[in-house]
Symmetry: C2
């Protein structure tokens, strides 16, 4: 039996092929510090389960395709704190940020069209695009520049009549970059000049460190009709398993078009929406605490990386990731070696090789993403283990 | 700003444009009997909420992309009762039957390919297909024949090298048809001869009346590598708001390909899976009760329809729908008239005009779908109201 070209060509998760090595390591009694995944260890606010436990409808019926009005209202109130102003008919609730991205891509690009994406990028941008025959055109960003954007002229070279949108995450997964106001403005100018949408994945909006200013695309009034804000409760409230995301846009006609896609899948789960109404009411003190915790972890990781000879890594300022250039021949081989042939006192480390986060062939081979989602103690041990691993790896380049 | 061709051309829900008329009727104090929607009134088994209330993980983490092993196991056990035998790596949990359909279509058809669908069909087959640039080629079925399939030779005429799959619901939404073993065998033979997949939407599997035999595509061993079974807890356990569906196929490589799409959207909500594990353990006595209730309702609707002069409708034997040919110029106009200009003792009826369930232009204009999802008393009153409406409609054709 044949499969479609689009599904066969779809990239597998770059982390997934290393999972069997991690499982084997654990089966052999090795402890594996998982710095490879984006699953936070922070507790989900209890308001989520509390409100779900109180749900007592006898029939678990379909909810509205657009989403529960109470949840949309809760999100409207949340956005106001960031000087982003949306109305009820400018927001759609989706199955996670994932569906928000997929539907946005379908709505702005036809088969054969292109989307511009700064690389390294969240792998699924490529996955969703190729599933619906849209091509990703990468804008290469460099570790040496902390993965900030290249010049306007450089980006411009990648734009052609097939280009329909720029997709980016800010703060960035996998890089931890937070774009400056100037960078946001450059993209806004390009969007206007070349008639592009901006699909702004801002699910890490609160995860910005060092007191840095954060500019949302929802704050750039002059291009509000071409901005699609993608959001999610997953990282914001450590509720990855809820799968509640959203699309917000001042372009009401766009929302109407995407609503047709929402109607096709009928609705998003009722209970998870009930819980998320409360999540979006979580007091700001929660973010302060979580933020302080992540900033501390970021410092541990960044400091440790900079003490390892040959590692290149500018200080990341957002999300809970960093991409570091390692003094190794090949990061995937290095991670495989750590899992198979290395340990310090029975423990080893798993990172996500960064090659899969690039669309340009050959890039990122000596880079890896580190997610700082472990507690302080474990994180310190993990970074120490990584240091020793880099000293002992037989194919190091230093 | 422009939108993609595929989203702008996507059909809106055929029921949705009548909703404002229903809202206006209610605002004017009219009671509206909703026979237009597929939201059952049966209570959801309490085991669903009970197990969710007991969920006490501190972090609501991502679950596996394939789905929770416990839920997959629960579904495996459920299938065994129907002599359908699946293994853990032959089932994927999806966001409702909707996502199961969308992912199946993406996996077997590329942009420009075709899927054969008996019409009238569940509108979203068309919606999902067009969203991913797949064309629906209808196999026209007729009210006069109870919407059973035409001859093998007739179906064959619609097959061409672009045809990749046959999609159908059995029991049928919107028609209530249950295909005979012979009809299933004809489709199986065609699938084999022309190298097609069969995407079998069997979400109404238990809703079969009159003690009729039911043949699942999961029982046709000779084509097991080309069969994709789509299922859902929505109708089966009256849990439409849970959005838990599944894909089952003996074609392990196909499951692996679709798993890549599942990985792209990370996972299905954790809590809803926890609840669904229990739903799939619901004792068979539940189906017996529910079945008896629906059969009683089916009898009320069918008897009432046959007593109305000019109505054509063969006895439906499955799901909770029937498509009837009405003695009116245009079913949409008729339903609009009922909502705007008609009532019996302050009550009126809403049906789903059937034109939107057809892909062939012009078909179904004088047909409507009736969903029997009201209790006995209300259903009797609704059918009486419909009878009076047909007597009084100014543009009747009889």
């Amino acid at each position: 039996m044949n499969f479609s070209r689009r599904v066969t060509e779809m990239q597998e998760s770059p982390i997934r092929k290393l999972v069997p090595f991690a499982q084997a390591a654990k089966a052999n009694g090795k402890h594996v510090y998982h710095l490879n995944i984006g699953q936070p260890d922070i507790e989900t606010p209890t308001s989520f389960m509390d409100s779900i436990r109180n749900f007592d409808e006898k029939v678990l019926a379909y909810s509205l395709s657009q989403g529960m009005p109470e949840l949309i209202d809760s999100i409207i109130q949340y956005y106001k704190k960031y000087d982003m102003h949306y109305e009820q008919d400018e927001i759609l609730i989706t199955n996670g940020g994932s569906e928000a991205l997929l539907f946005s891509i379908i709505a702005v690009a036809d088969a054969g069209d292109e989307v511009l994406v700064p690389e390294p990028f969240y792998t699924n941008y490529n996955g969703f695009s190729s599933a619906v025959d849209v091509n990703v055109a990468p804008i290469t960003c460099k570790a040496e520049e902390g993965f900030h954007l290249p010049s306007k002229a450089f980006i411009e070279e990648s734009i052609n009549p097939k280009t329909k949108a720029i997709i980016l995450s800010n703060p960035g997964n996998p890089t931890g970059v937070v774009y400056t106001k100037e960078e946001i403005q450059i993209l806004a100018d390009l969007a206007k000049e070349y008639n592009l949408y901006i699909i702004a994945d801002e699910v890490y909006r609160e995860f910005v460190y060092d007191g840095l200013d954060y500019t949302s695309f929802g704050n750039i009034k002059e291009i509000e009709d071409r901005v699609i804000i993608v959001d999610s409760v997953s990282k914001r409230y450590s509720a990855c398993g809820a799968r509640i995301g959203s699309i917000a846009s001042k372009n009401k006609e766009l929302i109407k078009q995407i609503l047709k896609l929402c109607q096709g899948r009928l609705c998003v789960p009722t209970l998870e929406q009930v819980g998320s109404v409360e999540l979006y009411k979580t007091p700001d003190s929660y973010f302060k605490e979580v933020n302080a915790e992540y900033q501390k972890r970021r410092d541990i990781v960044y400091t440790a990386l900079n003490e390892i000879p040959g590692v290149l890594c500018k200080k990341p300022t957002g999300a809970f990731y960093v991409v570091a250039k390692l003094p190794v021949d090949n990061a995937e081989k290095f991670v495989t070696w750590m899992l198979k042939d290395f340990d310090v006192d029975g423990a080893t480390v798993m990172l996500a090789p960064a090659e899969g986060f690039y669309a340009t062939p050959g890039l990122g081979k000596d880079e890896a993403r580190i997610a700082y989602i472990l507690n302080e103690d474990d994180l310190k041990k993990a970074m120490y283990t990584l240091k020793i691993a880099l000293e002992n790896y037989p194919n190091k380049t230093l």
